[in-house]
Amino acid sequence: MESFRKGLKRLAGRSEVSVLLAVILLGLLFSVFSANFLSSYNIYNLSRTAALYIFIALSQTCVILVGGMNLSVGYIGGMTVVASGYMMQNMGAGILAAVIGGLVVGVLAGLLNGLVITKLKINSFVVTLATSFFFKGLVTGVSEGFPYTVLAPGFTTLGRGMFLGLPYMLYLVILVLAAVWYLFGYTVIGRKLLATGGNLQAAKMAAINTDSTIIIANVLSGLFAAVAGLCSVSMNGSAQPTTGGDWMVYSFAVSVIGGTALAGGAISAVGLFIAAFLIVMIKNGLVMINANIYYEQTYLGLILLVAVSLSSISGFLSRRRQRRQFLMEQRQRSAEQMPQGIE
């Protein structure tokens, strides 16, 4: 019993739990105010978007956890979209070729970022700021703004299909999250990545080749951005060069709310999952409960603020409780000592 309570307490301290709490509370609230919030279509819908956001967030998380940032996630996604679209429409590529082509583009873009960051020793923020302009230009340059509408047959299966009422994409992302969890929990390279982000200097002194871990992180980031890009194409049924324009902000929002420490060195697969649902749910719920259209963003901001405050507030409360208890014990003790002193 005691250990169960302790376990609960430790759980409550974790940021994921407070975000989960926020998700549950909001879910209740929205479903009270809108009968259709929990309709099967809406759940399908929510979870598909959440899955996309998780891929986007993973792309960001990979670099955050080695202590960097990637401002170019969205445009890497955009390049993947254009590459796969171009291959299918203009070269008649099949699904496999288009997917591989898209992923290769993402990996190369990540590799470029990683190489510049490590070899020229420039801050990742600055590098990816510059490359995001670069990639964006390539996207508009190649596509001239036009979408590629001729896809390989069956390309939309992933993005539009469902199983047991839930989208394929959700299953895919759960698989990927499991792989990520394994990677960072149980493989040497995963631990090296985490160590690099935890303390670069210490990692170097522990014989870790931090340049290569940083490059690997950036390649992974490119890879996940590419996966997100391919998912978008599959969802949209066409390859839209505008894809990715708003990914950067959401990639950070989901990563950070999901418990990826901005200082690096930490990742939580479960946290990412919950955080993506939080954000997607807020945006969806506000529409469903018919919130004032002009102030929608204000509510979104407020709810986000409260959600991220929860863990700091709960920490504060638990510290206060601890102190109270200590004071009570202290008082008891002095009360016990009194008679002794008199004796």
Binding site: N36, G145, F146, R160, N236, Q240, T242, D246, Y294
Partner: protein, 308 residues
Amino acid sequence: AEALYAWYFPTAHPYGEEVKSFAEVFMEKEGVEIKFLMGSDWNQSTQDANMRALVADGYMNITTFPASDGAAGLYDELKSFGVNVVGFGGATSQQTELFCIATDVEAAAYAAAGYAIEAMGGKGGILNVLEVLSDTNTLKRKAGVEACIKDHEGVELVQQVADITSIAEGVEKISAALTSNIGKIQGVVCTGNQASSAAVQVLDDYFARNPDAEKIYLVCIDTPDDVMQGIEKGVVYGTIAQNTYAHGFVPMLILKKLNEGYSKVDGTYFIDSGTVLVTKDNMTTFKDDLMKVTEQILADLEVKYLKK
């Protein structure tokens, strides 16, 4: 169940507001309840999420403006759920909405360039100001302007600028292009809303500084306050007014008719809402001209586009 109607626009925007006001006219006239919604950001994913939320909430009749060409995927998917989507203001290249009531942008751009060339006296150089590159309409506008210039001997396309996402950016780029081609540009064609406001500002400033400079004829799009003031001042030669009344009113009417048992005539899709050049002369009366086009569309509706 009773049919639920919704109207969606990507973000708070003067053009959207104007269209919305005419949809409200419809609401009053026909006694139909409409849910109005605007996105927080002008991007496709927000539109996707919000319109899907509308559908989840039971709104099966939606009229909307595409945030990008990617809206086609959304419309297509919603159609498979039985949602009626009618577009206004811009068409998607895949034409996945039932109808689109909009300005024929290529024709409008061609016309705008034509007006500028006419004012220039049939010769000289033109600066073509495009707006958002990721918008497929941009390429159509570019084609329209280029075609018109090709059709006029003695007129040259001096430079094109594009990728303008705010007025400030427009001001920077337009003034840079003007400066690098002083004396070579006699006409400016703007086919985007922000670009127009920016061009008005740049030329206003330019002529205030150089009152004796050679005249530059500017043709804009839309009729916001600054452009209209520009026309009055003589900075703007003219502007292409779009038929916002039709954009607001007609889609709602079509949706209502579809629910009353009408269906779409095969092969129909685009409904040209027409444009009018607004100059100093017709500043107060141009709306009547547009209204005539609207009336024609309304008259054609049950003849050309819908059948029982």
